[in-house]
């Protein structure tokens, strides 16, 4: 079941169309990646989901019904542009922001005590935010995002501005949250993190959604039947061994081994390639080249742009 879905969202800013008929569906308990180049409209979509701005057209659904204003209390949002009141004490500030999300003061205090001790930052409670390092502030920021145990978490470019240690911590926490049953949307142009974390993605470019679905399915769809083979040299020209329908994309050397990337015709599989090569060479390894999300991203975006 989808925890959240948006259908045919359109948003126009004066002459600039930020979103054009964009629909997404976020299955419950999944991690959903919102991808796209800068300026594609990701942040606008996220702000619409958070009801910070209203769409010109389109509908939003949460838990199977229309999204309501009070649903903000079930959503946790870590914006791309994020920060804290510099002059305010950490604990007081966390209490304030938790209360704005609908928690009572007592409940907020109880949960904050738990999270602060969990992160080992209890001693920061009475310190002003400006006294903390950037990394420390990011931890506080993360706690504030999840303190009200939202059913839906939205991270806009969560890894930008975080140092590598905190990126790892954040990844771990995101996976923990998923395990605990939360549904997570995050937007990024960092493709590596998509492959690591996301179950589903939607790719947005120029205000339109150009691709969406399950990450594994997409990868399968975009795989090109290409293999990388490493073998011992044997003098003969590789081209002469393979039929014309086998396309050699790249050849190279790695120490004593030769490497070749070969795209197979649609009706051929890895066994066919092995059968052709084995009489003439010692095969050390054979790997399928699975397109990275980055490749797919670039390919889809350039294809769409070429089509325009």
């Amino acid at each position: 079941m989808d925890l959240f879905s948006a259908s045919h969202i359109t948003k126009q800013f004066a002459a600039h169309k930020a979103l054009n008929e964009v629909s997404i569906a976020v299955p419950e308990g999944s991690i959903f990646g919102l991808l796209g180049p800068n300026g594609a409209g990701k942040t606008t979509l996220i702000r619409i989901i958070n009801q910070i701005i209203a769409p010109d057209a389109g509908e939003l659904f949460f838990q199977g019904r229309k999204l309501l204003p009070q649903d903000v209390e079930q959503i946790g949002y870590l914006p791309e542009e994020r920060g804290l009141y510099k002059k305010m004490k950490v604990g007081e500030q966390a209490l304030y922001l938790a209360q704005l999300k609908g928690l009572s003061r007592q409940e907020a205090g109880k949960r904050l005590t738990y999270w602060f001790s969990n992160f080992g930052i209890t001693s920061w409670w009475n310190r002003k935010v400006e006294e903390l390092s950037k990394g420390m502030q990011q931890k506080v920021q993360f706690i504030i995002t999840v303190i009200h145990q939202p059913r839906l978490l939205i991270f806009d470019e969560p890894f930008s501005g975080f140092d590598p240690i905190n990126v790892n911590l954040l990844k771990e926490e995101i996976l923990n949250l998923k395990a605990a049953g939360s549904t997570i949307i995050f937007s990024t142009h960092n493709m590596a993190s998509v492959e690591e974390l996301c179950d589903h993605i939607a790719l947005i470019n120029n205000a339109r959604k150009i691709l969406d679905g399950n990450v594994k399915a997409i990868k399968k769809q975009y795989s090109t039947n290409t293999f990388e083979v490493r073998f011992n040299t044997f003098g003969q020209d590789l081209r002469a061994l393979l039929p014309g329908s086998f396309e050699i994309l790249e050849t190279g050397m790695d120490e004593a081994l030769r490497i070749a990337r070969i795209r197979l015709p649609e009706d051929a599989g890895p066994n066919d390639l092995l059968a052709l090569l084995m009489p003439h060479a010692t095969i050390h390894s054979l790997n399928e080249i699975i397109p990275s999300m980055n490749d797919i991203f670039i390919r889809v975006v350039t294809e769409k742009e070429a089509a325009l």
Partner: protein
Amino acid sequence: MKKILLIIRREYLTRVKKRSFIIMTILGPLLMAGIVIVPIYIATTTNETKQIGVIDETGFFYQKFKDSDNIRFHYLETTIWSAKETFGNSDDYALLYIPKTEIALPTNAILYAGTQVNINVKSYIRNVMSKRIEDLKLEAQLRDLTREDATPIDVNDLLRSIKTSVDLSTIKIGPDGQEEKSYTEVSMVLAFFGAILIYFFIFMFGSQVMRGVIEEKTSRIVEVIISSVKPFQLMMGKIVGVALVGLTQFALWVVLTFIIITAVTSTFTGTTLSETTTQQMMESPAGSFDPGQVIRMAPESQPEEGVNEVMAAINSIDFPVMIGSFLFFFLFGYLMYAALFAAIGGAVDSEADTQQFILPLTAPLILAIVVAQFIVQEPNGPMAFWLSLVPFTSPVVMMIRIPFGVPYYEVALSMALLLLGFLVTTWLAAKIYRTGILMYGKKISYKELWKWLKY
């Protein structure tokens, strides 16, 4: 609603806990008290013998004013007009005039003098007069009680019924016997005081709202907050929170100034004065502040030099209108400007970028203060009339006009226009604000703002 209260609470508490707030709260009253106390101090330290001529048309006070070390009274048998004419040539320090009353006992007196009258002299005269009148009242009551058909009366009621306060006003006269003081002068003081107060409040606390918005924007917390509350709630919460800070500071200033002045004057002057003022301090409900109350209390206490004149003239001023409209223009003038200040804060990235917007915004206010001196000269002229209708200038200009008397319908029209102005500007400001707070790193032009209004 609960969330807007949370916002107001935070805005209020973080500001009143600031060191700058505490310093301002202490410095303000010291300054104010200094302005009031220094002239009193000077007035009380001159100790030469003073002669005062008395014209008592009532005859009740004959020989009641006793000479003391430095005051001598002598009774004049002329009319007040001729006495005033000859006053300039006499050695008299002041001329006490107790006008004839038809039915009631005299409780009014006027003290004509060429200079500021020493406060001890005034409190002495007031004491003698009220004591004499209380005696007369007591006599009359006792006469009533000794009659056959007299109804018994509680002694406390009796004491209360005879309690008398004397209204002693001071009027400055020149050497030629012309009265220099007129009601206009007092109206002018009230006019400038009200106008400057509003001007100052709008400027100081309006820009605090703006800085608060800029702080939220530059610290990048604003988007976190508006994922929980509507931008409009955040804006209004801030505006109201800052207004409460301003009112708190204002109330503390009034109370502290009053305390300091009372404490200092009571050490300088006789017991009478300190008794009456401390008594009033007790009577005024602790903790609650009402600007009207201080003024209402004043006629009886008259602790400060010059208050008498103000009080005499104040009777000619329409008080409910004055105080009511002061509160209205004060509040809505602030609210309207604060919303616009918030919009500026939302539109820019740093305080340095605000100049191009602040100047046009505050120009009407500055204009109003600049033309104030012309308006007091012609409080019902066309310039005064139009500027007191335009919402951007009306809070200041109307406050200048009201002490001189303004037709009710004009005040009502001005209020209606200000209310309308407040609603329209807040609506527009909210649009700019909610777009601006999400825009980073963009130099904002007026053209850009115009576009935001249409989003």
